[in-house]
């Protein structure tokens, strides 16, 4: 592990295992989703987060329950780590009305009011302006919450990225920007999408404090996120965190991955955040094989239960088709 002791403060056994469990839940959940996709239980677009779990797990560990979250179409990990039950997420993947968005959203649009999860947003860059507004809104109400916005490095080329960072900085809005730089936007490599490939340096154009962190190292991510959250919560304005990561799987289920070499993928897999953290916990004696085995079977049970829950879920009646376009009168 590259992280120095000072960024891994007070790593209790309990907290370590909870980080590991969070990553494992995401991993096993998504492996199941891939399977269910081939069975046509899950349809539409499915974007897997496998390989990037350390980011959602690490950042969420640094947040308070009332902080707002906006993510992208690749948001199963964030949804699970934010506290939405696996049952609700899986049912949403199925499109059942027991799903977190009552089935209307599917994989790309997981929402949850209780977790302040303001959605998977499937327009690249589209979540950034609302995140600034969430932060601004909390600040104007004197609330201590912040807004966290996850997005890929591909979104950095969009105009909305630029507008949002400038607004957040001007307004000292409590926003944590988390760029998940996995080196590719679909098949477009970073050097084809950005003339300046050091993404975190772009923040300086807006006088936003930023740092870059190893996104394959959950402890480093959490430590950086804690620094960032503390900064933002003190009212010092937005913070930009670049997490260098890699997606192990295809962009979506329709991707022949012509744009990258198998060796590159394999090299990154050597840095698997789950394996790496687990190994390290063993090395320092914080956890043992039996802990991992127990965790695997707990997670497997949770995944199995979520599939059962989703299978048992119900289809919204067609007569409800026009629901939720407008708020019913008198209900708000």
């Amino acid at each position: 592990m590259s992280a120095t002791p000072d960024v891994k403060p007070r790593l209790s056994r309990e907290h370590s295992l909870s980080l590991l469990r969070q990553m494992l839940r995401i991993r096993r959940f998504e492996e199941k989703c891939a399977e269910l996709y081939t069975q046509e239980k899950i349809r539409g677009f499915l974007h897997l987060y496998i390989g990037e779990e350390a980011i959602a797990a690490g950042v969420m560990a640094a947040l308070s329950p009332e902080d707002a979250i906006i993510a992208t179409y690749r948001e199963h990990g964030h949804a699970l780590a934010s506290g939405i039950s696996m049952n609700a997420v899986m049912a949403e993947m199925y499109g059942k009305q027991e799903g977190s968005s009552r089935g209307r959203g599917g994989s790309m649009h997981i929402f949850n009011a209780a977790a302040r999860f303001f959605g998977g947003n499937a327009i690249v860059g589209g979540g950034l302006p609302p995140a600034v507004g969430l932060g601004l809104g909390y600040k104007m109400q004197g609330l201590p919450h912040l807004a966290v916005c996850f997005f890929g490095e591909g979104a950095v080329a969009e105009g909305e990225f630029h507008e949002s960072l400038n607004l957040a900085a001007l307004w000292k809005a409590p926003v944590l920007f988390v760029c998940e730089n996995n080196l590719y936007a679909m098949g477009t490599a970073l050097q084809i999408s950005e003339s300046e490939t050091e993404i975190h340096q772009k923040a300086s154009s807006y006088r936003i404090k930023s740092e870059s962190v190893d996104g394959m190292d959950v402890v480093a991510v959490e430590a950086a996120a804690r620094r960032a959250v503390a900064f933002v919560r003190q009212g010092q304005g937005p913070y930009f965190l670049e997490c260098k990561t890699y997606r192990f799987r295809a962009h979506s289920m329709f991707d022949a991955q012509l744009y990258r070499k198998k060796e590159e993928v394999e090299a990154w897999k050597q840095r698997d955040p789950i394996k790496r953290f687990g190994d390290w916990l063993k090395v320092i004696g914080l956890a043992h094989d039996r802990d991992f085995q127990a965790m695997e079977s707990e997670v497997a049970a949770e995944v199995t239960a979520s599939v059962a829950f989703a299978e048992a879920g119900t289809w919204e009646p067609v007569s409800d088709l026009l629901r939720d376009v407008y708020t019913p009168k008198g209900s708000a």
């Binding site: 707002a68 799903g99 977190s100 968005s101 009552r102 089935g103 209307r104 959203g105 649009h109 929402f111 949850n112 009011a113 303001f118 959605g119 947003n121 327009i123 589209g126 950034l128 302006p129 609302p130 995140a131 600034v132 507004g133 969430l134 932060g135 601004l136 809104g137 909390y138 104007m140 109400q141 807004a147 105009g159 909305e160 507008e163 949002s164 400038n166 607004l167 001007l170 629901r323 939720d324 376009v325 407008y326 708020t327 209900s331 708000a332």
Partner: protein, 332 residues
């Protein structure tokens, strides 16, 4: 109970809109305004003049030129519990934030399965007539009315200019208000206590028997003038102010058309694909057998608006064109 005539005060449309905005800020602590040059400059059309001094820079928030950014921020602030009233200086610039309007504001409630409403109000100036040429003379309100999930208002009168704002702000869903630039200087008197107005119904501004003239916004006044002239020629036209373009008030429209059996629609949008087509089609769908003549439209010619006055005038609906269309429809 002793009845007193309500006190009437002289005002302009500009002042009426401002009164509506001031009232919103006075009565609703969560309300704030944001937009380009609404504060220090006093508003492109001087609507918000003086409000910065009264309410301060937090609630009269000047934004940079970042339409997508600040409209999106308004969406976020609305979800955070605020009641943002966002000014997009003119609808000509609103294309830059259309993604936020369509893919977020109009859609989040549905995608989230009804968990998050977006109570944002977006005001824009609209319309031609000031020789501002091709890029600054659009009339897009009818076009916006295509989008499910939003409401589209077109206040034409002093009362509506003032009163629609409060109703819109208390609507749990996104409301777009289009103010025609030719109306701002319009003077008149208004009930000093004028307040919120209903936004669900179209209104008969002039009853008549021979033909229904359906219109809204800046065209209302041209249409009423035409109706006055036509009356002298023995044609008794009913003039309906649609007021809300989405959702359309079919009941009021059909009631009128069933009575007069003839309809002319006056609409400042470019003819093809304008809201006038939707209105005509609904009449066909719902009142076909009542029609004694083809429905006729008076719209803007299909040309970007030219700068010279004589060409701009020729491109737009005019009193003369309305009169000619009506005479044709009634066969006189």
């Amino acid at each position: 109970m002793s009845e007193r005539a309500p006190e009437q005060v002289a005002t302009t449309y500009r002042e009426a809109v401002r009164a509506g905005l001031r009232e919103a800020l006075q009565r609703e602590p969560r309300a704030f305004l944001m937009g380009e040059d609404i504060g220090r400059y006093g508003g492109c059309y001087a609507v918000t003049k003086g409000m910065l001094d009264e309410f301060g820079p937090e609630r009269i928030r000047d934004t940079p030129l970042s339409e997508s950014g600040f409209v999106g921020a308004g969406i976020g602030a609305a979800m955070a519990g605020m009641r943002p009233i966002v000014e997009v200086m003119t609808c000509n610039f609103s294309l830059l934030c259309l993604d936020q309007i369509l893919n977020n504001a109009a859609t989040i409630r549905h995608m989230s399965g009804g968990q998050f409403s977006v109570p944002i109000v977006i005001r824009m100036a609209t319309g031609a007539g000031r020789q501002l040429a091709a890029q600054h003379s659009h009339s897009l309100e009818g076009w916006y009315a295509h989008i499910p999930g939003i409401r589209v208002l077109a206040p034409a009168t002093l009362e509506d200019g003032r009163g629609m704002l409060w109703t819109a702000m208390n609507d749990p869903d996104p409301v777009l208000i289009f103010e025609n630039i030719m109306l701002y200087n319009m003077g008149g008197t208004i009930d000093a206590a004028a307040g919120a107005v209903d936004i669900d119904r179209a209104v008969v501004r002039r009853p008549g028997r021979d033909v229904s003239l359906l219109t809204y916004g800046g065209s209302l006044w041209k249409t009423l003038e035409a109706a006055a002239t036509l009356k002298e020629q023995g044609i008794d036209a009913e003039v309906i102010d649609l007021r809300t373009l989405r959702p359309l008030d079919d009941a009021t429209i059909m009631e009128s058309v069933r009575k007069t059996r003839r309809a002319v629609i006056v609409d400042e949008g470019w003819r093809s694909g304008s809201i006038s087509a939707e209105i005509a089609t609904r009449i066909v769908e719902q009142a076909f057998w009542s029609l004694d003549a083809p429905i006729t439209r008076v719209c803007t010619e299909e040309v970007p608006i030219p700068y010279p006055k004589h060409l701009e005038d020729a491109a737009l609906p005019s009193r003369e064109k309305i009169e000619a269309a009506v005479r044709k429809v009634v066969g006189r």
